[in-house]
């Protein structure tokens, strides 16, 4: 019996377990985080880069490119984009003109990786090549008739459909999702603030869910502690409540949806974040650093932090080997952590 099967057999759904010391002569007490088949070791020292040379401020989002490299977006203008290999070594960095760098989305456009950066301070979305050459800039969406100045528009996230359509979530502005074609021509907008299920409150993230027959959009309504699903044309479908969880952006890899939770409602402003993993039916199957909620009539009970692994996690990146990288906001300029599946 190897260690992997031993662990599978010895622990069913423990939130965090310790390996028996006999097996773990070299590192007694190594922690395992998460639940069910989504359990991880953690390496908080993954980043090998020198903070004096390559500083970070908030680490907002991360993606993996087709070469397997891990890209980090930070609002530190000495190096807005830091490119790592999977072992945490620096490959390169670029970007000095994104003071409000917040959202980072990668899209494979006809075989080429391109990036979409949401900049909160510039009130713009900027499309670049993988090494930072600007390809397209989207200014505030006057065409919607909802905005009178750029200041009202504070985009936090983008997602790109397979046909190249660009969806922008104005998560710190007016909470609209604005849809453009691949050239940046306005198509429509939906969401926005309001009373009613179809509206959003802090539309902080967006992704496309292709796991079921019909693709749909999943949009964060963070202060409502929920995701909302919309058709690709912006028609509201339903709400996925996650009581207590300030969900950032949804990220789908394989059969699972991963999301960094900035903090919990019960302990706001107290570094109470964690990371949730949901299955295809949007049910929480693992909570890294927190409780596994019970479900009553498909409604999860409150989710909250139990182990102070993270402060304010802001994004999850899942690499080609199912490792996770967690970027954190306002957490003492900490570099990303890496979690490796058990």
């Amino acid at each position: 019996m190897n260690r992997r099967t031993f662990i599978k057999k010895s622990s069913l759904a423990a939130g965090a377990i310790y390996l028996p010391s006999k097996l773990m002569a070299t590192k007694p007490g190594e922690i395992i985080l998460g639940h069910h088949n989504k359990r991880y070791y953690i390496d908080t020292q993954w980043s090998k880069i020198n903070a004096a040379q390559y500083p970070v401020n908030d680490c907002h989002e991360m993606v993996q490119d087709k070469l397997g490299r891990i890209l980090l977006l930070t609002n530190e203008t000495k190096n807005n984009v830091i490119i790592y290999d999977k072992s945490g070594k620096l490959i390169s960095s670029w970007g000095h003109e994104y003071p409000g760098a917040h959202g980072l989305t990668l899209f494979n456009e006809n075989g080429e990786d391109v990036l979409f950066i949401c900049d909160n301070s510039r009130h713009q979305v900027i499309k670049t090549t993988i090494d930072g050459k600007v390809l397209l800039t989207l200014n505030y969406p006057k065409e919607t008739g909802q905005y009178t100045s750029a200041d009202e528009y504070v985009p936090t996230e983008t997602i790109i459909a397979s046909n190249g359509d660009i969806y922008v979530a104005d998560g710190y502005g007016k909470d609209f999702v604005i849809q453009y074609d691949y050239k940046g021509n306005y198509i429509r907008h939906f969401g926005g603030k309001g009373k009613g299920n179809e509206f959003l409150l802090n539309a902080h993230g967006i992704c496309i869910d292709n796991r079921n027959n019909k693709p749909c959009l999943i949009v964060t309504s963070r202060m409502e502690n929920a995701f909302k699903r919309y058709s690709m044309q912006g028609e509201y479908i339903d709400t996925i409540p996650l009581p207590g969880a300030w969900v950032c952006r949804p990220v789908i890899k394989g059969d699972y949806l991963y999301v960094a939770v900035l903090q919990s409602n019960g302990r706001k402003d107290e570094q109470s974040g964690f990371v949730l993993i949901l299955d295809k039916a949007y049910k929480v199957v693992s909570n890294i650093g927190g409780n596994l909620p019970a479900y009553n009539n498909n409604m999860p009970e409150e989710v909250y932090q139990t182990i102070k692994v993270f402060q304010y996690p802001h994004d999850v990146c899942i690499d080609d080997e199912e490792n996770l990288y967690i970027a954190q906001w306002n957490s003492g300029k900490v570099y990303p952590y890496k979690l490796m599946p058990v």
């Binding site: 019960g266 909250y304 182990i307 102070k308």
Partner: protein
């Protein structure tokens, strides 16, 4: 077997990471309101295998030897509950604390200075409805002020001896919400036909304090028999230099008054 050991050690090397001890998060105290008429249930939430919640009701900081929480606590009198979580290989959590307050003397009505328009209430009994004790100042239970003086007039259902008055105040210094500089209590003396002083407390803002509800208790300094009380509250006029928002006028948030 040798091959397996080699594979195993490879696996260990691959996953060798800096060993780290994490702290447990504080447990969550769940209750509908910190104020109650006869009794209330207190649930303490912390679902993490291999850990236990320990609590006290005598004011001391919980240790691993204190009572283990298993089922909701039934509270029937003024009680301070302190709880902590312990678990092998984890640093114990910080302490969670809750103050639970039983209803006092029957109140006829309470009138109050007009609160800020964003933090007011249409409920006439907002300050004696036994609802509140939650640190979210936007939950509709709180009255918010950023004025220099707040006046509150309390009328009891009958004339009686008063020993103390309690005011629940929010402390949320990161949101510029501070305890008041001064609380002064007056009682209506029917013989002299005027309000006379019954006691006061002053609070000095010396250093940062955690976000929590603070029950400020004014003990009446002499024998007072009345059915009318007046509270004059002086919110903090200038946020201290060590706090965010320094120099600006602080906010005062109150959500409940009890008379004993």
């Amino acid at each position: 077997m040798k091959k397996m050991m080699a594979l195993l050690s490879l696996f260990f090397i691959k996953h060798t990471v800096a060993q780290q001890q994490f702290q447990l998060a504080p447990p969550l105290l769940k209750y509908a309101s910190a104020f109650f008429k006869e009794k209330m249930d207190l649930q303490i939430m912390f679902n993490q295998p291999g850990t236990s919640i320990r609590y006290t009701i005598n004011g001391s900081e919980p240790t691993e030897k204190d009572r283990q929480y298993k089922t909701p606590l039934i509270i029937t009198e003024n009680t301070i509950v302190k709880a902590k979580v312990f678990g092998n290989n984890f640093t114990p959590s910080a302490m969670a604390k809750g103050t639970f307050i039983k209803d006092g003397k029957a109140i006829q009505q309470i009138s109050f200075s007009a609160p800020d328009k964003d933090f007011t209430s249409a409920k006439k009994d907002i300050l004696y409805d036994n609802m509140g004790g939650d640190i979210n100042f936007r939950n509709g239970n709180w009255l918010g002020y950023n004025t220099d003086t707040v006046e509150i007039n309390i009328e009891l259902t009958k004339k009686q001896t008063i020993t103390s008055v309690c005011l629940n105040v929010l402390q949320d210094q990161n949101s510029w919400v501070f305890l008041p500089e001064q609380l002064a209590l007056y009682y209506y003396d029917t013989k002299q036909n005027q309000f006379l002083p019954a006691g006061s407390i002053e609070t000095a803002m010396q250093h940062p304090l955690p976000k929590q509800c603070v029950l400020q208790k004014l003990v009446v300094s002499k024998k007072v028999i009345t059915n009318k009380l007046k509270l004059i509250i002086l919110p903090l006029k200038k946020i201290p230099d060590w706090a965010s928002g320094k120099g600006t006028h602080a906010w005062l948030f109150i959500d409940e008054i009890k008379v004993y």
